[in-house]
Structure formats: C-alpha cells, structure tokens
Amino acid sequence: MSRQARFYQWGMVIDLDRCTGCGACVVACQAENNVALVEKQRFAEGRDMHWLRIERYWEGEFPHVRARFLPMLCQHCGDAPCEPVCPVYASYHNDEGLNGQVYNRCVGTRYCGNNCPYAVRVFNFLNPDWPQPLPDQLNPDVTVRSRGVMEKCTFCIQRIRRGKETAKSEKRLVRDGEIQPACAQTCPPGAIVFGNLADPDSHVSRLARSPRRFRLFEDLGTDPSVIYLKGGGHEHAG
C-alpha cells in the first residue's frame, strides 16, 4: 500500500545466517500470546496453534546435505491477501503497517487462512483447554481466543501498545529497541530484530538495507514487513 509519512512502520528482520533453529522464539511466542496447547492427536489432524514456527528444509544428499531453517510468522504484508477477503473486517490493516485481527469480529469463514500464501493463520478448531493451574500463567494482556475464530502473530501488539503509551506519557517517540516482541527478545543468536522501518536509522532499517535481504514470495506482491537476510553463504553482514 502507499506508505504515507507516519511515525511508525513496524517491521522485522530475520537473519537466516544467525538463526540456529533452536525453537526459543516458538516457546516465547506461545508463552506471551496464550497460544493453546495442542495434544498429539490434534497435531496429527493439522490443528496446531503455533503463531510462529521454524520451518526446516532439506537440501542436497548425503554427505553434502544441508538443513535450512526458516522462522515463519505473520509477515504483516503491506498488501495483505488475507484482509480484503474477510467479509466482516476481522482482518484489517492498521496505519502502523500491522495486520490486525479482531477476534470478536471473526465469524470463522477461514477465507483469510486460505488466501495467506505463508500459511501462518491458525484457526481455533476447538476451545483451548489448560488444566488447572496452568491458566494462572496466561498473559493478562492478551485475549484467550475461543473456538471458531482465526488468530495469528500480532507482532506482540500488546507490547507495542505499552511501549507507545510509555513513550507518549514521556512525550517522546518510541526509542529503537524499546519494543521487543517475545521472539526477538529471547532469540539467543539475535537472528530476529524488530523495530521501526519508518526510522531510517533504526537497527531494523539498517539491517533491512543489507545486500542479503529478500522477502518471501516477493513476486506475489504482498509487500511483507518481515525481511529475511540470506544465510548459509559466505556473505558479510554489510
């Protein structure tokens, strides 16, 4: 979409050369966002609820075999295919480049899920269940979604909100690195960097200018806000 001048344009850079596939981000995301537990049978049926997953692709044959990891989360597309197909505006675009999902609006057509080329939207096929006292862990900042609605990565919008409120109360803009989604916060090798793409000097903007940059399915014209940096080669950070 035409990106007008605005203060914040949230984006993420994932350096595939740093990503080790360790899965810390996946658990961080699940803990932060009250993502439901999925037992084995449900997993087998294809009802897993992870908002963030590490995809692993095999390349080559023994002994020249390589495994490549690709952390996959909502790409917060500028021209998101999921948004216009929703009949009830449950999926919409906010003016900070975020791909919003209003659970209460959602009627569960699952059209957005079909139209997402990244397959990052998950549907609540059944009500989440946490045996006592596990519900005490649930993050009070994040809604627990009921069955019948779509959900997905929000870039930890609750943290963005809090960060912006803090900044506003101090009459300033959000500082670079002040807001961290759970995945970026925990990532041991520092492969995930989050920040404001509207600020050309932010860490994320600087990384986004790397010659190693690419975005997934660029040819589909979805204009994702998640920028990957190529890994596995001998390139420098640049």
């Binding site: 996959m72 295919p81 009949p87 009627v107 057509t109 059209y111 079909n114 139209n115 080329p117």
Partner: protein
C-alpha cells in the same frame, strides 16, 4: 405434439394427468418422506454437534481450511443453474419442447439454491454470528466489507433465491388457478390465496406473457453472475490453482452441465413417479440430451484449456498442485474425466442413447457425481499444496460433514416431494397452450399439416 392427432383431446383429462402428483398421498409417499426426514434429522443433529463442539469435528485443518461444505456449496449453486437456464433460455427461444419440463427445472433451481445457500453458514466457525455479514446499521458502527467476495456471494445468492422464487411463482400463477378450480377444502383456500384471483382474461394473459419474457431476460444474467461470483471466491485469491481468469466461464459451464444433467435425472424420476409418460416423451429427453452433449463438450474444452495452460507455463507451485492432485486423487480425477467427458460425449452422440431413459439416467447421475468430484478437486488439492511446502497437508471429510451432506440431498428430495404434492409439477397451462391455443391443422394439397400460431 403431446397428443396424437387422431385421439380426442380433453383438457380436463390432461389437467388430471398433470396434477396426478397432488393426489392424496400413499403410504409409500409417507414412508419415503419419513425416511428422508430421518436423514435430515441426522444432518441437523450432526450440525448441532458441530456447533456445540467446534470445527474440530470436521476434517478441515491447516492448510485445508475449506472442505466438503464449500464443495457442496459450489455443487448446489451449480445445480441451481439448470432450471433457470433451461427454462428461461428455452422460453426466450420459444422451444416448444420446453413446456413439460420447465416447472420441474424451476423448482429444482429454487430448492438447490436454498440448500446451497445454507452451506456457507454451516461452514462458519461461529455460525451464531453469521449476521455480522448482513449489511444493516448496528451498534458496532461497522458495516460488512463489500470488498470481500463472500459479500458478493451473499448478495448474488440472495438475489438469485428471490429471483428464481419469483420466476417459479410467476410461471405457476395460471396453474395455481387451474389447480384451485379443481381442488376442494383447505387446498382450495390455500391455492385461492396464492392465485390472487387470477381469471385468465385476455389482458391478464397479455401482461403475463410480457412479464414472463422480461423475467426470463433478467434471470439469465443473474444466474451467470451468481456462478461467476462463486468462481471469483476462488479466482481472486492467490491460491495456486485457483487464481485463474478462466474460472468464471468455466464454473458457469460446469453449472449448466450439472444442472441440465440433474434436470434430466429429475424428469426421469418425475415421469416414473407421477406417470407423466404422455407429457414427457422421448423427444424431450432427446432434446435435453443434445443440450447436455453441447455443454459437456464445452466443459471439456474449458477443462482442457485450464490444465493445458498450467502444464505449459509449468510454474513450480501451480504444477505442484496439479501433480499432487493427479497423484493423490488419481481415481477421482479419472472418474471425473470419465463421467464428464468420455461417457457423455461418446454416448450422447447416438440418438438411441439420447432416447433411452435408463441410459440417460445412468449418464446424468454419473455426470453429477463427476461434477461433485470436479468441485472437490478444485477446492481441496489447491489448499493442500499451497505456497508453503512445509505446511502441506491433505483432507478427508469427517462423518459429520458427510452426514450434513447426506441431509442436504435428502432435504432437497423432501422439499421436492412436498412441492409436487401441493403444486402442479408440470406447467399445465404451458403444455395446454400448445395443444389448445397454438396448434391447428391446415390442408395443403393432399396433406393435412399441423400448424403452430406464432405470436410474434
């Protein structure tokens, strides 16, 4: 046409024959209704179970978020194209052989679009909030998103349900009067209300004729738009295998194919069930079968064009979807091609087949099975192997979904049975118009010829 010239023609006998379906029900009728009702009840139970438990009871998953319900939706909307197309096009083209079949076809349209329209609602994750999609000023201060194809669907299907019901009612109006005049008791009252005091004056008939032509003209573009919009549900997305400009005409042709086939199937059943052999003669089946032959050829051409461009372009993900489909669903694919292309084209070329009721029954049933498979093969393989290879999956319909589908078929049959019980299932006045008003004889030389008065 319907009566041999040498036989004495009696309008009262013809009326009685065409209204045979409205005679008091036999125990067999009740038994069948009970049976169908039981299946519908099972479907309702299955649906309530789904509402109470969640979509987990279906076979859907990530990435296959749509399955049997949407397949059914497309299938039933497709079926609904028969009636209107057959009856409206043939009415406009003044094909006289249309007369005995049009009522049955129009009724089929109304019932199948009603059934079809239910499926998107059954399919919702939160069915109870379906009204969020209806445009009305609400306290949310938010209207539905008219940029969503689902809203177009809703509008188109609403228009089509209303339009095809009106179309059915319009054609029914003079027949209601006939039925009224022949009925007694509560039926007479019921029919009197519906007939609205129709007498059949010259002026009424003239207006009726004009309105029928106008409605026929209007309903055809609506029908085309409905299935185009259903096709756009798929074609406007980025899903490989769906994102194709050929989809709208392809879907429309597919719809007419399954519709015409279903009309033939139904005609065969009605003919048998209500002893309408005198009115539904081999000529009608021959003509319908010719129409069917043409549309299956068109369908095959469209299918060829779609697969051929995919094959030639060989875009990795598009080709992957086709490869997966032809691998995992090979049997289904073969049945589809067999039923939609090989069998109809090779068989319907022959006049003997076209006039053989049993052969047509088999062929038309096969075509509709193949058309159902076609819808399934459009929806499921594309979703199974979408752009993210890591997230590939597959889909098997669950018991709940199959039960709901069985209930849909039973419900359709039940509605049809009830309709035939209360309303003239053959367009009485249309049929009689030809024999009584339009047909005459003229002597030319030594020949005694049948003539037809043409209005225009």
């Amino acid at each position: 046409m319907s009566m041999p010239a040498d036989q004495h023609y009696d309008a009262a006998t013809a009326n009685a024959a065409m209204l045979s379906s409205t005679r008091p029900a036999t125990w067999r009728w009740y038994l069948l209704a009970l049976l169908l009702g039981a299946v519908v009840a099972c479907g309702l139970y299955a649906f309530s179970y789904q509402v109470m438990t969640g979509m987990v009871v279906t076979g859907k998953n990530r990435p296959v978020m749509w399955g049997f319900y949407i397949t059914n939706f497309v299938f039933w909307v497709g079926l609904s194209h028969s009636g209107t197309m057959v009856s409206a096009i043939l009415r406009l083209s003044q094909a006289n052989w249309r007369r005995p079949i049009l009522r049955g076809a129009e009724a089929m349209t109304v019932f199948s679009i009603m059934i079809g329209g239910l499926f998107p609602l059954i399919h919702l994750g939160r069915n109870w909030t379906f009204y969020y999609m209806i445009p009305y000023p609400s306290q949310y201060g938010l209207w539905p998103n008219f940029r969503s194809p689902l809203l177009w669907d809703m509008m188109a299907i609403t228009t089509y349900i209303i339009g095809s019901s009106l179309f059915l009612y319009l054609g029914l109006l003079p027949d209601l009067a006939v039925a009224r005049d022949r009925a007694g008791g509560w039926r007479r009252l019921f029919l009197s209300v519906l007939a609205m005091g129709w007498r059949g004056t010259a002026q009424q008939w003239q207006t009726f004729g004009r309105a029928s032509t106008l409605m026929a003209c209007l309903i055809i573009p609506v029908a085309v738009s409905v299935h185009s919009i259903v096709a756009w549900d798929f074609a406007v997305t980025l899903v490989p295998g769906w994102h194709s400009t050929i989809f709208p005409p392809y879907f429309v042709i597919g719809a007419i194919t399954s519709g015409v086939a279903a009309v033939i199937t139904l005609m065969i059943i009605i003919r048998k069930a209500f002893h309408l052999e005198a009115f539904l003669q081999p000529l009608h089946f021959d003509n319908l079968a010719k129409l069917l032959l043409v549309v299956t050829m068109l369908w095959s051409y469209f299918y060829f064009a779609e697969v051929f461009t995919t094959w030639y372009g060989h875009q990795p993900i598009e080709w992957e979807v086709f490869r997966f489909m032809s691998d995992k669903y090979r049997l289904l694919l073969l049945i589809m091609l067999f039923g939609n292309t090989v069998v109809p084209i090779s068989c319907l070329l022959w006049r003997r087949v076209r006039r053989s009721i049993p052969a047509l029954l088999v062929i038309t049933l096969l075509i509709n099975v193949a058309m159902f498979i076609e819808r399934f093969l459009i929806i499921v393989p594309s979703l199974s192997h979408k752009n993210m290879p890591f997230m590939w999956g597959s889909y098997t319909p669950s018991l709940v979904e199959s039960t709901v589908m069985a209930a849909a078929f039973s419900g359709f049959a039940l509605l049809y049975m009830l309709f035939a019980k209360f309303f003239p299932i053959v367009a009485i006045t249309d049929v009689r118009e030809e024999t009584e008003a339009l047909r005459g004889t003229a002597v030319r030389g030594r020949a005694r010829l049948t003539t037809l008065v043409d209005e225009e």
